[in-house]
């Protein structure tokens, strides 16, 4: 039963990560992404998915999808109903699933974050309805399969699984909120394990939207740089297999890391602009630390939301500096949006997997295009590839609408 829940544990169980899947413009899977982020490679190129000749910005971080998807439990016909976004979700989920070593289940919760779901189907529906209004072919299929809950359900079916699907859509904080929600489901005894993450594909509507707001960089994306001029868009997906420590130990599963804290709140300041002093950012970082039982001094790296827009980065810089206090002077911070762009609903999930990489492989992801720090940054930006001792990491995500989220993960040794 969703309510009342009868199996709430006296002490919340520890939640560990036993699988992780990722796909970004840097590549498909853990290895190419880890190499790319470790060396600070950037993955921007001219947009090829739709016409941008009348847009201010021309580049984005497009994913190279394989010509054919790997075989799954879905039929060939069902596979044709996966759009670009759902295909990326499938690839990331499959990688996490295989790494976890889980068996198929009829009750596997899936919690996903997305802003657009199958928007490409929605766009195709609109174009056909307007341009050839008497033509109805494919429209019913598009009307069903653009919906994110259908995409999540199909990806579960692809793994020969079923279970409750929850879609969180808190704009660009969706991925982090989805992971946080899955963490809470496990901590409060509603599930022993869950698949969770985020996904979003580049679409014409969203690209045009950020371009219309003049939020897209026309040069290069340089989060926290004094000369930053906007964000760059990307696309991708990341999924984690979360389970109780007891469950992982029972089956002798390799543990990749531990999710130890989550904070979430909402900034009332403005629909698209953060509070200048980063009040809500500060609150969610503190919430996450309280849940994790760690102090700022114990955090070894922050993967910032760091979009590269003037307002976001200055607000986040103020919040991080305030939150970290004296620790700020030596606290390494970077935004991996400098490498792969802003992945919107996938951002928080992809950045959580990048944090997991730093914990597993003990390096810090640099912003190779960064030059001049914003005066609001009282912390060092990671500029060059470097190894480091990384035991605890924090990842920030914020979105239109003001929902803010922070996740904290710990190294597993």
């Amino acid at each position: 039963m969703l309510f009342p829940t009868t199996s709430r544990p006296q002490t919340p169980p520890r939640v560990v990560i036993t699988g992780a899947g990722i796909i970004t413009a840097l590549g498909r899977g853990w290895q190419p992404n880890a190499e790319g982020f470790r060396t600070g490679r950037t993955a921007f190129r001219p947009v090829s998915l739709f016409d941008v000749s009348r847009q201010r910005a021309k580049n984005a971080a497009e994913v190279n999808l394989p010509a054919t998807l790997p075989p799954t439990a879905l039929s060939a016909k069902q596979m044709t109903r996966l759009d670009r976004a759902a295909s990326m979700l499938l690839l990331a989920t499959r990688e996490a699933w295989q790494q976890s070593g889980w068996e198929p289940s009829e009750n596997l919760p899936m919690v996903l974050g997305t802003t657009a779901g199958g928007m490409s189907f929605g766009e195709a529906y609109f174009r056909q309805a307007v341009q050839t209004p008497r033509r109805h072919r494919h429209q019913p299929t598009r009307a069903i399969y653009y919906q994110p809950q259908v995409q999540g359900r199909m990806v579960l079916e692809a793994l020969d699984c079923n279970g409750p699907v929850t879609i969180v859509s808190n704009a660009c904080a969706s991925g982090s909120n989805a992971i946080g929600h899955a963490w809470e489901l496990i901590r409060y005894g509603q599930a022993e394990r869950a698949l969770t993450g985020g996904y979003d594909a580049l679409t014409e509507l969203v690209f045009s939207g950020f371009d219309s707001l003049q939020a897209l960089s026309t040069t290069v994306c340089r989060p926290f740089d004094a000369r930053r001029d906007g964000l760059a868009l990307g696309e991708g997906a990341a999924v984690m297999a979360l389970e109780t420590l007891e469950s992982a130990r029972r089956r002798n599963a390799p543990i990749l890391g531990e999710l130890i804290g989550y904070g979430s709140s909402i900034d009332h300041h403005h629909l698209t602009q953060p509070h200048p002093q980063g009040d809500t950012t500060l609150a969610v970082m503190r919430q996450a630390c309280a849940a994790a039982g760690v102090m700022p001094e114990e955090v070894d790296y922050i993967n910032a939301h760091g979009t590269g827009t003037v307002l976001n980065d200055s607000s986040e810089a103020v919040a991080i500096s305030h939150w970290a206090g004296q620790r700020a002077a030596t606290l390494p911070v970077s935004s991996t949006k400098a490498n792969i762009g802003h992945l919107l609903g996938a951002a928080g999930a992809v950045e959580a997997v990048i944090c997991l990489m730093t914990l597993r492989e003990q390096w810090l992801p640099p912003e190779s295009m960064f030059e001049t720090p914003d005066p609001a940054c009282h912390f060092p930006i990671v500029q060059k590839p470097r190894d480091g001792r990384v035991n605890v990491v924090l990842s920030n995500s914020f979105g239109f609408g003001g929902v803010n989220a922070s996740l904290i993960m710990r190294r597993w040794v």
């Binding site: 309510f3 429209q139 045009s208 609408g401």
Partner: protein
């Protein structure tokens, strides 16, 4: 485990801008008149039931955040403020309020307008429209109007996801993360959504609006209604079709009783309704089917079902009300609301 009560209800629907208007049309049981929407390039108009303009301009529309907001935001704010009104009147304005907004199609008006502008010339597409296209916009605006929302989520799914939203609100209350929680289901209409429904469920009439429940832990804030149960989410799959999922949901909701109301999701689409009607074919008690009067309001319709169920219990017409939500493409979930403090309340809690 905490007890969860309903502290208030709100509704914006084709019947009007409050729960009383919703109650009136449901009591009458007559389907509301159908209007039509023009579909560009096609001379066959699409049937809809539109939300009428409010009889008096609501004060909340003067809020600067709502100046350019889309209709769905107005519906969310209207229903949310009505549901929270009693609570706000008798509690500390600093109380921590949670907000869960559930949507299926979301902000389709501005999305279509913005994409239309993009196709015509992206260089002149309006930056005022784009931020209002995101699923999270209505929740953000209501949070700004209320000022004391401390935790918010927007959830997307088929209409049964409204009960996932109620379960999330109950979870936040049980964890003491909020003192009360608004859970709102909402939709808006436009021609493309009506066109999509025409493709998928031809007999259905699209409608719009919002329904809201304000949940709390404090019995003194209650309207006399208690949340007794929400079933599992019975997700559809190749092995677990809609029929089987609907039956599994119904099996978790208990037995027939003449004192209990069944508030179901049956409308005017025989194909779409068949599985739910099959699951409840042995139900002999009173039954209310709001969609037959109001139309297919997607997530808003799911919320109206819950509002109507709670309203019937709060008005002491029934000791309990069961809500059946058999969604179109995701899951079947049911819920049970009971009169707070009644014997049936304790029984149903096992």
């Amino acid at each position: 485990m905490s007890r969860i009560f309903v502290a208030g209800l709100g509704a914006v629907s084709p019947a009007g801008w409050n729960v009383a208007a919703l109650r009136d049309v449901l009591n009458k049981g007559e389907p509301l008149p159908v209007q039509t929407l023009e579909r560009p390039g096609w001379n066959k108009p699409l049937p809809v039931r539109l939300v009428p303009g409010p009889t008096a301009r609501p004060e909340f529309l003067a809020h600067p955040r709502l100046r350019r907001a889309s209709p769905i935001t107005h519906y969310v704010v209207g229903a949310g403020l009505e549901a929270a009104a009693k609570l706000r009147a008798k509690t500390d304005p600093r109380l921590r309020l949670g907000l869960v907004v559930c949507l299926q199609s979301g902000c389709v008006n501005y999305s279509c307008r913005f994409y239309d502008e993009t196709l015509k010339d992206p260089a002149t597409a309006s930056p005022l429209l784009f931020p209002e296209t995101v699923y999270a916009a209505p929740a953000s605006h209501l949070a700004a109007v209320l000022g004391n929302i401390s935790l918010a989520n927007s959830i997307v799914g088929d209409p049964a996801a409204f009960l996932q939203g109620i379960a999330l609100g109950a979870q936040w209350l049980e964890e003491n993360r909020v003192d009360a929680c608004l859970v709102i289901g909402a939709e808006e209409t436009n021609w493309i959504l009506a066109d999509a429904l025409w493709h998928l469920e031809r007999p259905a009439v699209l409608t719009a609006g919002a329904g809201a429940l304000c949940l709390c832990r404090e019995p003194a804030w209650s309207t006399g209604v208690e949340l007794a149960a929400i079933t599992d989410a019975h997700t559809y799959s190749g092995r677990n079709g809609r029929t089987r999922a609907a039956r599994a949901m119904r099996a978790q909701l208990g037995n027939n009783s003449s004192n209990e109301l069944l508030c179901d999701g049956a409308g005017t689409s025989p194909h779409a309704d068949a599985m739910e009607l099959d699951a409840w074919r042995d139900w002999t008690g009173p039954r209310l089917s709001p969609k037959r009067v109001l139309g297919e309001g997607l997530m808003a319709a799911a919320a109206w079902q819950c509002v109507a169920a709670c309203d019937a219990v709060a008005g002491e017409r029934f000791v309990a009300a069961n809500v059946s939500l058999v969604g179109a493409n995701q899951q079947a979930i049911g819920a049970r609301f009971v009169r707070a403090g009644s014997a049936i309340s304790r029984l149903s809690r096992g």
